[in-house]
């Protein structure tokens, strides 16, 4: 989880994120950030998700429990 939060902070272009943070509230939240998250999940967790599936996750923690904690 620690590595996940560090990497998500990088993708969301901030210094730190917490599991409770709402993803669409980040200033950089756009289609390219969604693509970045798709690429990251594929690379690290070997899971293929769609843009729609990422957008259905509300928080950073939701995304992890849905696709990162497999």
């Amino acid at each position: 989880m620690k590595n996940y939060l560090e990497r998500m902070a990088e993708l969301l272009e901030v210094d730190h994120v917490s599991a409770e943070d709402v993803m669409e509230d980040f200033e950089c939240w756009d289609s390219l950030t969604v693509l970045s998250i798709i690429a990251y999940l594929d690379e690290v967790f070997k899971v293929k998700v769609s843009a729609e599936q990422v957008n259905q996750c509300r928080t950073v923690g939701d995304l992890y429990s849905q696709y990162g904690g497999l």
């Binding site: 993708l11 798709i38 690429a39 998700v49």
Partner: protein, 253 residues
């Protein structure tokens, strides 16, 4: 124009990478139908076997993953020994990689470059030895519109495909004295299984947006195959070092 200077087109031997699916498979089917013998390369052996099942005597199959630089040379040598020296070499194998810069890693980039670009080096380094080809061999690399125009989240893929364009141009000059020709085709988006899979991940509007980028609409694998066959043929005997856009007008805008 008759194929008078070299072997008749139908009697030639060509090597195709990425032959199990998509553009490579379409090209292989059309060249087999024309009478050619083919060295078929792909990591998907089952796909190659289904392609060659009707004409096994005119096909030599090589299972190879271009992410790994091992063992290709010996197997190509064996195939050429079986079928004869090459008149055509078409490098279709490749991998797409959609990733914005902030998610892209050095490892990702190295893998994409290995499969899409360094693979071309491995192929021509070996196949351009005089003992492996006939006079006038035509080499075609399948590049991409993204080697010519920018696209967000495609920097690794674009870098790898642009490398093919430059590689072909340089070799065209270097090996013209030996009558070898090197060209690229730069396709737009064609309807393949890979594109359908990508569209499912990218969302419901993806295909419509792609279609909008192509004034003539999305292409078919045979549209690219037709252009490759032209570059392989003696009709293109004075064409070398070019990048031929086959993109339904994508890059004309």
């Amino acid at each position: 124009m008759a194929d008078s200077e070299y072997a008749p087109f139908a009697a030639r031997v060509s090597l195709i990478t990425g032959a199990a699916t998509g553009i490579g498979r379409q090209l292989a089917l059309e060249l087999l139908a024309s009478g050619q013998s083919l060295v078929l390369v792909d990591k998907d052996l089952v796909g190659l076997q289904s392609l060659a099942s009707s004409l096994p005597e005119r096909c030599s199959l090589i299972q190879h993953d271009f992410a790994l630089d091992t063992g290709l040379e010996d197997r190509v040598s064996d195939a050429i020994e079986k079928l004869g020296r090459l008149s055509g070499l078409v490098h279709v194998a490749g991998v797409s990689h959609i990733s914005p810069l902030k998610a892209l890693t050095r490892l990702d980039l190295e893998r994409v470059m290995a499969i899409n670009a360094f693979s071309a080096f491995d192929l021509v380094k070996h196949c351009c030895k005089p003992k492996y080809h006939l006079s006038g061999m035509s080499v075609v690399f399948v590049s991409s519109v993204y080697s010519l125009v920018g696209s967000a989240a495609n920097s690794a893929y674009a870098m790898s495909k642009a490398a093919l364009n430059s590689f072909a141009r340089s070799l065209a000059i270097e090996l013209a004295p030996r009558r070898l020709r090197f060209n690229c085709v730069a396709p737009g988006f064609v309807r393949t299984e890979m594109l359908e899979n990508l569209a499912q991940r990218m969302g419901p509007n993806y295909l419509a947006e792609l279609e909008h980028l192509h004034p003539l609409g999305l292409g078919q694998a045979e549209d690219v195959s037709n252009a490759i066959q032209f570059l392989l043929s003696d009709r293109a005997r004075w064409i070398t070092g070019t990048v031929l856009s086959v993109d339904g007008g994508f890059t004309a805008q």
